[in-house]
């Protein structure tokens, strides 16, 4: 395939397909497929893909799409799917089940606003609502990062030290329905990168009941094991990225990326495609001699708290661009960053709710935010930066 002009969704579909195909030397590939805007082209791509040893099952709901992945994964196959917004909400119960069963399923979440009222544009509130579901969560800013992260996600999820499902998010329409030049890696390379899945607790012949009843002390142990697996993700991710670079010749982002932060006095934090706009604004302001920087959050679960504090460094003003809203609280990234900064009372941390419901997060809007942050004496409650009607 190599370099080609492709949409975000077809890029994601391709990455899922070749990852599944790479398990033809193992127990094959399985996908439960159900359409929802703006994710549909991913499952369409998967339904068209000719798997050597795999099957895409077009089911009747997202809830069953994940259930098929659960059954297939338990039987040892590499399992994957994709969804968005209300599809993810409808799937919710089985998203949690996949995490609690410790199944390395990979799902692409194409960010879309949860309704009603109905709105098909991007907003990270849908995937963030799954933050407690024992899934690793990646957020991506471009077609290439999306493809690379999907492959990395399988590798991390399937690692014996982790064994947790992984969600890879892309912005609806901004990425899903636009075309970019993207390198879609050859099957042979993906085969080298992803060895056949060997699930230690797959259905065998023994009389064991998976997911049966437990008492509090066993449940607590189960949850702690998940927490410990999450804590091993950073190390496993570094190894997965190192190996990715060896096989594919490029290096995807890690947990988070700090850009222009070394001497920065003011830093904005963002995820997904907002990072691309933010980067341009930071570069322009840097040329004007302003000490500003940005932090791109790539991994939201496990949340890289220590890395966040390190990345903020000596900056005294930190603003968060939250394209999501937790009613009664504020931005979800902000809450996580506030928890990370609990020993840094010297940092002024301000939350900005931006681009909700898919409103454009423009350079002008980011400029306003930088100006607000620079002039601010104290942090306030999250500030709504609404787009002009």
């Amino acid at each position: 395939m190599a370099r080609t002009l492709e949409t975000g969704n077809h890029s994601a579909g391709y990455a899922l397909a070749v990852a599944g195909e790479a398990n033809r030397f193992g127990r094959g590939a399985i996908c439960g497929a159900y359409p929802i805007t703006p994710q549909t082209e991913i499952v369409e791509f998967l339904c068209d893909f000719q798997f050597t040893k795999g099957r895409v099952i077009p089911v009747e709901s997202e809830h069953s799409a994940m259930a098929v992945c659960i059954g297939g994964s338990l039987a040892g196959a590499r399992a994957f799917t994709a969804s968005s917004a209300n599809g993810l909400a409808y799937m919710n119960e089985n998203v949690f089940a996949a995490g609690y069963y410790r199944l390395p399923i990979v799902m692409v979440g194409v960010n879309r606003t949860l309704g009603p009222p109905w709105n098909i544009w991007t907003d990270q509130g849908d995937t963030l609502s799954l933050r407690d579901a024992a899934w690793i969560q990646f957020y991506t800013e471009s077609h290439q990062e999306l493809v690379d992260t999907i492959l990395v996600a399988f590798r991390v999820a399937e690692d014996r030290r982790v064994l947790l499902p992984a969600l890879v998010a892309e912005d609806g329409f901004v990425v899903s329905h636009t075309q970019m030049i993207v390198d879609l890696p050859e099957q042979e390379l993906v085969d080298r990168y992803l060895s056949p899945l060997d699930l230690p607790h797959r259905l065998g012949t023994k009389g064991l009941t998976l997911g049966g009843m437990t008492f509090p002390h066993e449940t607590e142990k189960h949850r702690r094991e998940i927490q410990e697996a999450m804590e091993r993700v950073p190390q496993v991710l570094v190894e997965a990225i190192d190996e990715f670079e060896k096989v594919f010749g490029r290096r995807p982002h890690g947990l988070l990326s700090a850009e222009y932060t070394e001497d920065a006095e003011m830093v904005l934090v963002a995820c997904n495609t907002m990072v691309r706009t933010l980067r341009r604004v930071v570069q322009r302001r840097r040329k004007q001699g302003q000490k500003v920087g940005l932090i791109k959050v790539k991994v939201f679960r496990p949340f890289p708290r220590a890395e966040m504090v390190r990345a903020i460094g000596s900056a005294k003003r930190v603003g968060v661009l939250d394209r999501n809203h937790s009613p009664g609280s504020g931005g979800i990234f902000w809450g996580e960053i506030a928890a990370s900064l609990r020993q840094r009372p010297d940092v002024l941390l301000q939350d900005y709710l931006v681009g909700l419901g898919g409103g454009d997060v423009t350079p002008e809007l980011i400029d306003e935010i930088f100006d607000d942050l620079a002039a601010r004496q104290v942090a306030e409650e999250p500030i709504w930066k609404e787009v002009p009607a």
């Binding site: 069953s64 259930a67 659960i70 089985n94 259905l203 065998g204 009389g207 064991l208 009941t209 997911g211």
Partner: protein
Amino acid sequence: MTTAAVPQHLQRAEGILRPGNTNCAGCGMSIGLQWLEQALEGERPTLCIPACCGIVTAGSFPTSAYGVPTVATTFASVAAVASGVATVYALNHEPKLTVCWAGDGGTYDIGIATISAAAERNEDILYVCYDNEIYGNTGGQRSSATPLGVKTSTTSTGKAEPKKDIMAIMAAHRVPYAATLSLAHRDDFVRKVRTARKMKGFRFLLMLSPCPTGWKSEPEESIDLILTAVRCGLFPLYEVFEGRRYRINVRPDGTPLENYISRQKRYRADLVDLELLKAGINAQWAYLEAMARTFPAEEPE
């Protein structure tokens, strides 16, 4: 527990249901699982069980009353999880049997869309619904399998609607095989499981499963209640092939319906309209007889 400590009549090879499970006395599901095991003649299926008494049967981790690989699925998901399991077995050329073992709540109600979809796709699954006509695991609420007039914890004045005809729904999906199972007709039960086993695709078996706790009946009368349900015509024993060809296995013998309902306190004389129930039974038999006469099954019994 050593083998020597197990009474002779309980000794058996590692099968589907081990001794020492948590089921109530007189639970039809316990017998159904043992007969399933006998019908499969040593074959070890994979069980997929949604939220229901059937998963409580397993007991708590790390013990399991199931002697075969078992997955506890979410309530509405059993047929979809089983679709995934059966698919991967097929991809790997493993001739394993995937069995869904689910109650009426997970079949008639919350799981109906999932089951309908798996049936429509003709997934290679043997689906057994043990139907105790109640949400037994949560203490006895009405389901759409609860018969007309029955008192449950959510129908204190008796259920106003008749029981949903799940067999007709499955037949309408044109699944290869749908049949009813009686816990009082062992040969018929075993034959039907074996018939289903020989087939591929979505096979549906409906077993009326006495629940002394929910039915407010005596545990030792469970099997006799099923025998009476078949004889009075309330629970017809029949098979449907490809959703179109019908065969009736046992016809009513004139046993009065009263012999069935008078032994269960869920049927209260002041809440049950006997004539309405009988009319429903007669209508059902008229339909079945017409179908069996017009579209008889050609398959050997």
